[in-house]
Symmetry: C2
């Protein structure tokens, strides 16, 4: 088991944004939301190219800050997110993709072996740093 991704201890990676900044990527955060249930699925990043392709192809396209390339969500896993609309915040420095998943969303799997329907499947139990798993 991958402790970070599936364990019950809080081990936040506070260096993520600094690493993106150091790499000089022109990206902004994108919130992915299920348009029907309202569930927040995950946060990713987009540059101009990813946003343009998202609007053109009507599916969620992000920028992978680790691989430094376009990430057409679902190309490998089949878990495509069909785009319903894109929203922008007041300060125009983040985006909200409202989507409809064709299958699962997260790359982790639940006890039944299916990819989870969102990446926020763990809740902080309190200031002690414990996590509770909810499918």
């Amino acid at each position: 088991m991958n402790e970070l991704e599936e364990g019950t201890a809080l081990r936040l990676d506070f260096g993520k944004l600094r690493a993106i900044g150091e790499r000089g990527a022109d990206v902004i955060p994108v919130v992915l939301q299920h348009v029907d249930s309202g569930e927040v699925l995950f946060v990713a990043y987009a540059n101009e190219k990813a946003l343009a392709e998202t609007l053109a192809t009507k599916r969620a396209v992000l920028w992978s800050t680790s691989r430094n390339e376009l990430w057409r969500k679902g190309d490998t896993s089949g878990d495509v997110l069909d785009l319903v609309e894109v929203r922008v915040n007041c300060e125009q420095n983040s985006l909200l993709y409202r989507v409809r998943p064709r299958g699962g969303v997260c790359h982790t799997r639940n006890v039944e072996g299916h990819t989870r329907r969102r990446c926020y499947y763990r809740r902080l139990t309190g200031p002690d740093g414990g996590l509770a798993v909810e499918e």
Copy 2:
């Protein structure tokens, strides 16, 4: 009128995360979600201190990356966000604060002069870069 914050032209600030990275702030993105309606309210940033105070005081506390200080949402505006729960994603590099607003949320105001209930009040109308305002 502030064109960037209230206009209908898309002018995304893709330099936001690079600026955070250059400042060396140890922060991760936080999605703020209304726990009852499911609406995504805005994206902000938190460091360890902000998260600890959020859990201790049961209200949303963020880290202001522009002022470089704790941002106790609502201290100035009165628009406090009461905390219901905090969730973490699989990779432990972002957070989801599920909250219940006491009043408005955004600092922009609608036609009736009230602070808006979310910052994502504009929708991209298509690849041309236009924005449609929805209260």
